[in-house]
């Protein structure tokens, strides 16, 4: 092949690849096909379910834990309420940023009209989200902030305030500890925004009681949400501090796995404030007689948060009624002191990693977890 021919071939290849890339991002700008003024909805279906037929997509950054599986179950259940959704497409980025980005691109290419995204990689997936939005897909990230702005990079961001969770814990501790005691705070990986926000809320709420001290490492002991690391931390903490009156953590299951560390140290589990976990609740029910100080307060794990994101995305794409708020509140779930809104809920027929605050029925939750039941 002569030099001129080689240059021509390279030039054609370059033009072809640019054209292909442009095809992936071409289309009308800024979600105009979603601005349907008449908010009429399908009769018999919720008000957010408009009449226009759409394909719905859920792009998960990481799908492989119980919380995610149950959340997908909730999303499917919510989508099933709207007959305008002709297809439900679920993709899993498997914790890999590049994979998550390409899944979003493929959703757009496959004709998804409304896309809910869990942006685990944060700002790293913002360009992909923005491209989907500019391609005319109604794009709604939720729970983890991807950066950017609603109306510029995506339609709306469905958020929750983790500091509020910490505040609920703190308010309960003020009552449970009668304004006096030492609290240990466990968190996830280092510099994790959720754990940091929870600590801020906890600090603010316990500031009302000068007798309550958050001891040990602040903002939190790093556990990476790993039961082995949690056990090491608990062992060290029990060795160092003879007086621990409460433990707050954002991963209750790992604490339940560390119950043996307490037994080894000859100590009883103190008051615990966390997100709900069937395993922890069942542990508490088991210990309630021998360990009366093991009071339990949990906030809702919010698997149903995805329903708000689904409602918003589908409403905007089908012409239905938008939800009134894009902020989902933190709510208490179990309170062993007052029994409101629920007393400690343990279901031994459900697996330990079941999340009872989910709005799914037990059977639906088992199906979402891919399990047939737990013999206990």
């Amino acid at each position: 092949m002569g030099k001129a021919q080689r240059v021509l071939a390279l030039g054609l290849a370059g033009v072809a690849s640019v054209a292909l890339a442009a095809c992936g991002t071409a289309g009308s700008s800024g979600g105009t096909n979603a601005a349907n003024v008449s908010s009429s909805h399908v009769s018999g279906a919720p008000s957010w379910c408009g009449k226009k037929k759409i394909v719905f997509g859920l792009a998960d950054g990481f799908g492989d834990n119980n919380w995610r599986k149950i959340t997908v179950g909730e999303a499917r259940a919510e989508a099933a309420l709207c007959p305008s959704i002709t297809k439900f497409v679920y993709t899993d980025g498997q914790g890999n940023t590049q994979e998550a980005i390409s899944q979003i691109h493929s959703d757009v290419a496959n004709g998804v009209n409304a896309l809910v995204v869990f942006p685990d990689a944060g700002k790293a997936v913002l360009p992909a989200i923005t491209q989907a939005y500019k391609a005319g897909v109604v794009t709604v990230p939720y729970r983890v902030f991807p950066g950017g702005k609603a109306g510029v990079n995506y339609d709306a961001y469905i958020s929750t305030n983790f500091a509020q969770a910490g505040q609920l814990w703190g308010d309960w501790l003020d009552k449970a500890l009668k304004c006096k005691g030492n609290v240990i705070n466990l968190g996830g990986p280092p510099a994790n925004t959720q754990s940091l926000a929870e600590y801020q809320g906890l600090k603010k709420a316990t500031a009302k009681c000068p007798g309550i001290h958050i001891i040990g490492q602040t903002p939190y002991y790093v556990t990476n949400w790993d039961p082995a690391q949690t056990q090491k931390v608990i062992t060290a903490v029990l060795a160092k501090y003879p007086d621990i009156n409460a433990i707050t953590t954002d991963f209750g299951s790992a604490l339940a796995s560390s119950a043996s560390a307490f037994t080894q140290a000859g100590r009883k589990i103190p008051a615990v404030a966390t997100e709900d976990s069937n395993q922890l609740s069942c542990q508490r029910q088991k210990d309630v007689k021998s360990d009366p100080q093991f009071q339990l307060f949990t906030v809702d794990s919010q698997n149903w948060m995805v329903r708000t994101a689904v409602d918003y995305a589908v409403a905007k794409a089908t012409g239905g009624k938008l939800p009134s708020s894009t902020v989902v509140p933190q709510k208490p779930f179990e309170n062993s002191l007052t029994g409101k809104p629920h007393n400690v809920e343990c279901d031994p027929s459900m697996p330990p990693d079941a999340i009872l605050s989910s709005h799914l029925s037990h059977a639906a939750q088992l199906k979402a977890l891919g399990q047939t039941g737990f013999k206990g």
Partner: protein, 379 residues
């Protein structure tokens, strides 16, 4: 026979009286490489007792020992592989697969636990055999082969678990978390496994051949040893040990994470290195590795109780590993010998041929001054 007969008059060596230390060493069969880590571990406990007595309290030790025992067992498997000049990057997959099998298969039913454990051993030994075969017979490098095996094992982990971690049975929790005569069961199992492994390697013919293959492949082949068989056996036996450690871990943790094994790869290699086994293969001691696992676990506990941040904990781990590598890798004796030789020859430091200041390379000052004055004036 005359006085000039060299053979008759050759100096005879009088046998040296056996020192107490030599007797102890030969009886206990400790290789010289074990002594530094044993000394370091004792020193660490002394330092812990002095600076942070809470870290060596009875309850703290009891809490630390079970996970230390698990690390010891996993690291012993890694020792076998490293002794053969290889490395096993499939530790995370082996541990995670075992955990998934002993949690998901029984589904909480203690009656199915025995079958689950047997399945786990079959799976890990089969995986080890396959890795070993690919490495010793097909001659793929260990890093590549075991990395690939790890990916395959992770695939099985996801397939079997469906992405959900779950709890193990009460039977396993009670067993693994229990105590016999006040000593945690996990520790007893680790000690027994270490003893059996060390005995097989040091006292049986097969074990000695195994060490010979690791020390010198060509030498062992020349002596008629079927080297590939021993390399294969290393990976299979390692798989067996990983499974044993992981079964215990499942009982200790109750509800392990899906990829719980991830956090054990680097510590397993660190324990092997700190125990004195060279990463290039050769002599090693599973007992030294087990002691190193205890060292690492107590070091982590000491730093945690001290209240240091997560960043400092990581730095301390890295520092310990670096120090261990330096102690075993830097040829201290050779360096000291070289220094002694140089002092004896009358030089204070290294010398080269260009150190004579009055040689012809020195340029006269006048020419230098002239050139610097004129160089910058043309704008």
């Amino acid at each position: 026979m005359s006085a000039d007969d060299p053979i008759a008059n050759r100096p005879t060596r009088t046998p040296e009286p056996e020192t107490a230390a030599a007797t102890l060493q030969s009886r206990v069969r400790l290789s010289g490489a074990s002594l530094p880590i044993i000394a370091a571990t004792i020193a660490l406990f002394v330092v812990s007792a002095v600076f942070e007595p809470d870290s060596v309290r009875h309850s703290a030790i009891l809490g630390m020992l079970p996970l230390a025992a698990v690390l010891a067992i996993l690291a012993m498997g890694q020792t076998l592989v490293i002794q053969q000049g290889g490395i096993d990057l499939s530790v995370p997959g082996m541990v995670s697969l075992t955990l998934v099998l002993v949690t998901h298969y029984p589904g909480g039913n203690s009656g199915r636990l025995a079958v689950a454990i047997i399945l786990a051993f079959v799976a890990t030994i089969a995986a080890g055999l396959l890795s070993g075969f690919i490495i010793s017979y097909v001659r793929v490098t260990p890093i590549v082969a075991t990395l690939g095996m790890n990916a395959v094992l992770y695939g099985f982990v996801l397939q079997i678990s469906g992405g959900n971690p779950t709890s193990t049975t009460n039977a396993l929790s009670d067993f693994a978390g229990g105590r016999v005569a006040g000593i945690p069961t996990a520790v007893i199992i680790a000690v027994v496994l270490a003893g059996i492994t060390a005995l097989i390697i040091k006292r049986t013919v097969a074990g000695r051949r195994f060490e010979a293959v690791g020390s010198s492949l060509l030498g062992a082949r020349a002596a008629g040893v079927e080297a590939r068989r021993y390399q294969l056996a290393a990976y299979a036996c390692a798989g067996c040990l990983y499974c044993a450690g992981a079964v215990l871990l499942g009982g200790i943790l109750g509800t392990p994470n899906l990829f719980q094994g991830d956090s054990y790869l680097l510590p397993s290699v660190a324990a092997v290195v700190l125990g004195g086994t060279s990463l290039l293969g050769g002599r090693g001691s599973v007992i030294a590795t087990a002691v190193a696992a205890l060292f690492i676990s107590q070091l982590d506990q000491f730093v945690l109780v001290l209240g240091a941040s997560n960043g400092v904990q990581n730095l301390v781990d890295a520092g310990a590993l670096g120090a261990g590598l330096a102690i075993y890798s830097v040829p201290w004796r050779r360096l000291r010998g070289r220094e002694r030789d140089m002092k004896a020859a009358g030089h204070s430091g290294p010398v080269g041929p260009d150190q004579n200041p009055s040689g012809p390379t020195h340029a006269p000052d006048a020419v230098d001054a002239g050139t610097t004055v004129t160089s910058g004036s043309h704008k």
